[in-house]
């Protein structure tokens, strides 16, 4: 087991790494400021105006409900997508027949642009939250499907033979062999699906007027209020960054720590064996 001190040190190093990210983002803000100075507020409001607007909107109580609404829709669709994609993927991994049946469908679904799903779900579900959930579900499920299928298909391999040869108990087989193996396949896909779900959710809300951050953006567009629009974009970006750096990246380090690359190490192979 890793001692607590080491864990704390690692956590500090991770949090400290935020300075590097902050430096990069601040340079982008500098570029934004330069764009503002060149083109004026109507095209590109200044960062400080935008931050001030965001602050005002937050105080007015408009931001938090929208975040909750978008988050709820995106998360529901994401979980549904992971469930559906994961289950069907596992089926396809277990049975060759199911693979033949499902793989082309999944490829097709992956190819349909998210915006097409938005149009369809608006026609089917109207301007309700359900349209958002459906769109997110249907765009994230194929992403998970392929990796779940591949993970299950490659479960029964040399490692399992080795584990049987050492006569380890079933608990160890599941916990030490199957689970890490599946995670190494599923995690990247699930992370991609989560990041995707936010963007698709906001896009659907924007076109459907179903509330949430997208709705705020749509309103700002109608009012030709660039400052407000930028403030809403900041909200989306902040949420994306929070999900990536506070949730996904720490998880990734924890789950896939064994994949750490050495300088000059060979290119990664998903199985590593």
């Amino acid at each position: 087991m890793i001692p607590l001190r080491t864990r704390l040190a690692q956590a500090l190093d991770y949090v400290w790494g935020g300075w590097g990210a902050a430096a990069s983002l601040l340079l982008l803000v500098a570029l934004w400021e330069a764009g503002h100075e060149a083109y004026g507020t109507l095209v590109l409001p200044s960062p400080r105006e935008t931050f001030a607007m965001l602050w005002r909107m937050t105080l007015d109580g408009r931001v938090w409900p929208a975040v909750v609404e978008t988050g709820r829709n995106a998360l529901a669709g994401f979980l549904g997508g992971v469930l559906v994609g994961g289950l069907l993927g596992a089926l396809a991994g277990l049975s060759d027949m199911m693979r033949r049946l499902l793989a082309p469908v999944s490829t097709l679904m992956l190819g349909i642009p998210a915006i097409a799903w938005v149009v369809l779900s608006l026609l089917w579900f109207g301007g309700s939250g359900l349209a958002v959930v459906f769109t997110v579900l249907v765009t994230s499920a194929p992403v998970v499907f392929a990796s779940a299928a591949e993970g299950v298909r490659s479960l029964d391999g040399a490692l399992q033979r080795m584990a049987r040869a050492f006569r380890v108990p079933r608990r160890v087989l599941v916990w030490d062999v199957y689970l890490p193996h599946m995670l190494s396949y599923l995690f990247p896909a699930v992370a991609t699906a989560l990041a995707l779900s936010w963007k698709v959710a906001v896009m659907t809300e924007l076109l459907s007027g179903a509330g949430g951050i997208g709705d705020g953006l749509a309103t700002a567009r109608v009012q030709v209020d660039t400052v407000k629009a930028m403030a809403w974009i900041l909200v989306v970006v902040a949420l994306l960054l929070a999900v990536e750096y506070l949730l996904l990246e720490p998880l990734r380090r924890h789950v896939l720590g064994w994949r750490r690359e050495l300088p000059g190490a060979e290119t990664r192979d998903p199985q590593g064996i």
Partner: protein, 261 residues
């Protein structure tokens, strides 16, 4: 020669309690793999299965290890704790070297501290440092990975060591190094060992008894015992002995399929 081996060879009681494979036949689907194969190996000796590739050596080894039941015949031995080393190290990529060495201990009633203490000890036994113990398999070289696999097998303190071409993926220098290491460990512990190989020189270097298998379906084509103590077998002896074995027509014929180098 280490004392352990001498005692084992001199004691008829221990010799009787060895490995006995009696008229074993096996088929995968319609294709027969083993046909009426019989081999014995006294305890604390190294037996070497050699034969052309695909002749069923690994199948036989799986039967000895209890992973596979033969269709006909009987595999009998008194050993309770066999341990495998495969050609591919088969390490868990998500466990560091220490965790991989301790993997087999999951099957034994053992506390965590005991496990890690034993893993630490074995790191040293196979010539790895404590720092190597914290590395993940992808950070280890091929030879180091195979050392970890060997340590994992030794960790469960096996009474029967099953080596399935463990050195064939290594380059010549590393292979010699690993052979010497395994030879030393086997002699020191008096371990009954079955080694599968397709390299006659390796067999001569390692084995007390060499069992030559015929091409599929395999039966015993020839059997040779080597009396010289392992530690005393130098390159000259190995070369001469390989020549002597190949002079035996049955051996030469069984191995000719591969075109021995």
């Amino acid at each position: 020669m280490s004392p352990a081996v001498m005692i084992a060879q001199d004691s008829p009681r221990r010799m009787s309690a060895g490995l006995a494979i009696d008229a074993v036949s096996h088929a995968f689907g319609p294709e027969p793999v083993l046909s009426g194969l019989s081999v014995t190996l006294p305890a604390a000796q190294v037996g070497c299965l050699i034969g052309p590739s695909g002749c069923g050596k690994s199948t036989l080894l799986a039967m000895i290890g209890g992973l596979l039941r033969p269709d006909q015949g009987r595999v009998a031995h008194p050993f309770a704790r066999p341990a495998f080393v495969f050609q591919d190290p088969c390490l868990l990529p998500w466990r560091d070297a220490r965790g991989n060495i301790a993997f087999g201990l999951n099957a034994l009633p053992m506390s965590r501290t005991e496990c890690s203490a034993r893993a630490d000890r074995l790191l040293g036994t196979v010539g790895l440092t404590a720092e190597d113990g914290e590395k993940y398999p992808r950070e280890l070289s091929g030879g180091m990975r195979q050392r970890v696999a060997l340590a994992r097998a030794l960790a469960i303190e096996p009474d029967l060591l099953l080596l399935d071409e463990p050195f064939s993926a290594l380059d010549v220098g590393l292979r010699r190094q690993m052979q010497a290491l395994v030879r030393r460990l086997i002699d020191a512990r008096g371990l009954t060992t079955v080694l599968v190989t397709h390299d006659l020189a390796e067999a001569v270097r390692m084995a007390d008894r060499i069992v030559v298998l015929s091409p599929r379906p395999a039966h015993v084509a020839a059997q040779h015992d080597i009396g010289m103590p392992r530690a005393a077998r130098d390159d000259g002896f190995v070369q001469a002995e390989v020549g002597r074995l190949l002079a035996d027509p049955a051996t030469a014929e069984a191995l000719a399929v591969e075109g021995l180098s």
